[in-house]
């Protein structure tokens, strides 16, 4: 919302943003970094929240606290009988002008002192970091032909340059091996894609990016794509996963309390990298992720997307695809039901990802089921009552959207069953990504469910081109 208000002010149209009190500091931080420090922000005050206050309290708070700022900002007058509001400009934050240059030495000390210093500065994720010294950074840079000063993008909300150089620095800090550098660069390219909406990575659901790696690089770097694939324990999976969150913290500026830009309600830890091993693909006869996403067998790729929730482990048995899909659907629907409304609120953009052990995907392959058939079966049978969908939408804060109207405008078909109207939980079957990974000796699957257009699935090729 703040980005819209800032865009209008920058275009010369007076605007005022309304925020709940708890989000006003984040709003000001975005306004300041966007060059609109004077943007008026009308705060809905606490204690109490918009969705928990009584209608009487809601009306009083809007009238007494929100209206004065809005009227002054847009009419240039104070409402009759009201006290002049506190000017938003009074809370202007200083612009930074004395930051270090990218390659400058910012501190010198023992490893413990460096870690203490970085933590004090907000440059750490709370785990020990490897000290980023020039010679170690240079080792990372030797694995790419790209200019260290190349600006890959500018990442909001702090609007900092994402460069080849700081990609190496943060990869080093996270414990990556220097040779992972091409993977790190592909990930940063994905984070910089505007469709990823990294500026919304501090939103209250507390979603985390999930990186999936597919291609020869998996075996070359010895990623774990088998048993315990999503556990911390294998260096490339763990450290590259950690790198993503560290980079978002240091370069995008998404820092949790006491900073204000990460407003995750509860949040979750970083995801290790999901690797699709060649062995899993070969054992299961299932198309690889890179082929599913339109790349060639010799390509190595990363796919980066949001994960808002994860299903429990799903066990399935039987020799027919439908036996397995019935079990997968029953658990998937349970986890998906609380976030399915996002596809309606935002108008599409959904990225469900299913990790299936090779023993499960082999059932589909051996039965001659294509990827499209499996996707279609899941999408056609993932339905939920319309009124439940409306309720989840409402409690999450969306108060002005009709699921029925949205379904109609999106061309979706609603079904009736036992007197209840059922709506699709997955609005685009082609968005379902199936990854063969995990313990080949077990009949298990797991769903990783996205946060809609926030953290849209972005795919980039990994360029292993250092000379």
């Amino acid at each position: 919302m703040l980005r819209v208000a800032v865009a209008l002010e920058s275009a010369g149209i007076p605007a005022v943003a309304i925020c709940a009190e708890a989000f006003a500091p984040l709003g000001r931080a975005i306004a300041v970094s966007s060059g609109a420090a004077d943007l008026p922000i009308a705060e809905y005050p606490g204690p109490g929240l918009i969705l928990t206050d009584t209608p009487q309290t809601f009306e009083r708070k809007v009238r007494d606290a929100v209206v004065p700022t809005v009227v002054e900002a847009l009419l240039g007058a104070h409402p009759t009988g009201a006290e002049p509001p506190k000017s938003a400009a009074a809370s202007r934050e200083p612009m930074d002008g004395d930051e270090p240059s990218p390659r400058s030495v910012v501190y010198s000390g023992s490893i413990e002192e460096v870690n203490d210093y970085f933590e004090q500065q907000g440059w750490s994720d709370g785990l020990p970091v490897l000290p980023p010294v020039q010679r170690s950074v240079d080792l990372f840079l030797s694995y790419t032909d790209r200019d260290p000063g190349e600006v890959i993008g500018v990442l909001p909300p702090e609007n900092r340059e994402a460069t080849v150089w700081n990609c190496a620095v943060n990869g080093l800090m996270a414990g990556c091996e220097p040779r992972y550098m091409p993977v790190l660069l592909a990930i940063v390219e994905a984070l910089c894609d505007p469709l990823f909406r990294i500026y919304e990575a501090g939103s209250t659901p507390g979603w985390e990016p999930l990186v999936t790696v597919s291609g020869p690089v998996v075996d070359e770097f010895e990623f774990n794509g088998g048993t315990g694939v999503m556990r911390v324990g294998r260096r490339p999976n763990a450290t590259i996963g950690r790198f993503v969150r560290l980079y978002m913290r240091n370069v995008a500026g998404l820092r949790q309390s006491p900073f204000v830009t990460d407003q995750a309600g509860i949040g979750q830890s970083f995801n290790v990298v999901l690797a699709e091993s060649q062995t899993s693909v070969q054992e299961s006869g299932w198309p690889s992720v890179r082929l599913s996403l339109g790349y060639g067998p010799a390509d190595s790729i990363v796919s980066v997307q949001s994960v808002r929730s994860i299903t429990p482990p799903i066990y399935s048995s039987g020799s027919e695809p439908i036996d397995h899909l019935a079990s997968i659907l029953s658990v998937l629907k349970g986890t998906l039901q609380s976030s399915a409304h996002l596809a309606y609120k935002y108008g599409g953009r959904q990225y469900p990802l299913l990790v299936m052990s090779p023993a499960v995907t082999r059932i589909f392959a051996d039965s001659g089921w294509s990827r499209e058939q499996v996707q279609g079966y899941v999408a056609d049978n993932a339905l939920m009552p319309l009124d439940d969908l409306e309720q989840y939408l409402h409690v999450a804060g969306t108060t002005g959207v009709s699921i029925e109207q949205r379904a109609r405008s999106m061309g979706l078909t609603l079904k009736s069953e036992n007197g209840r109207v059922l709506a699709p939980m997955i609005v685009d079957q082609s968005s379902i990504l199936i990854v063969a990974a995990g313990n080949p000796g077990r009949n298990q699957s797991k769903g990783y469910l996205d946060n809609g257009p926030q953290g849209s699935r972005i795919v980039r090729r990994i360029h292993m081109n250092a000379t």
């Binding site: 819209v4 209008l8 108060t399 959207v401």
Partner: protein, 108 residues
């Protein structure tokens, strides 16, 4: 034995601070006769109820003020808006409707 010392570099990146046009956007707002206020909404957190209260207060303060409802623009966070030039087109769309000020809601 002394611990080795590490001379460490900065892990952040140069910050881009966009400078707005330093416009005194609100100069003479009070004296304008033709006030038109637009409401932009993400269809969340009872913005519609807030707009009703704001609309009423503004009419009391400046009778004759005109209003443009959020349905004219749709959900300003939706894919069809954000990814299809909605934000970029907004200033011209608003100007074409004679809008003099915009309420954007609700961040929560």
């Amino acid at each position: 034995m002394n611990s080795p010392r590490y001379e460490v570099v900065w892990p952040l990146g140069r910050r881009h601070v966009h400078s707005s046009a330093n416009l005194d956007l609100r100069r003479d707002l009070e004296n304008r006769e033709d006030k038109t206020i637009a409401f932009l909404w993400d269809y969340a957190f009872f913005g519609d109820r807030m707009f009703d209260i704001i609309r009423s207060a503004m009419q009391d303060q400046a009778p004759g003020t005109r209003f443009v409802d959020p349905d004219e623009f749709g959900n300003v966070q939706a894919v069809e808006f954000v990814e299809h030039g909605g934000i970029e087109d907004l200033p011209n769309r608003l100007r074409s409707k004679g809008v003099t000020g915009v309420v954007v809601a609700v961040g929560a």
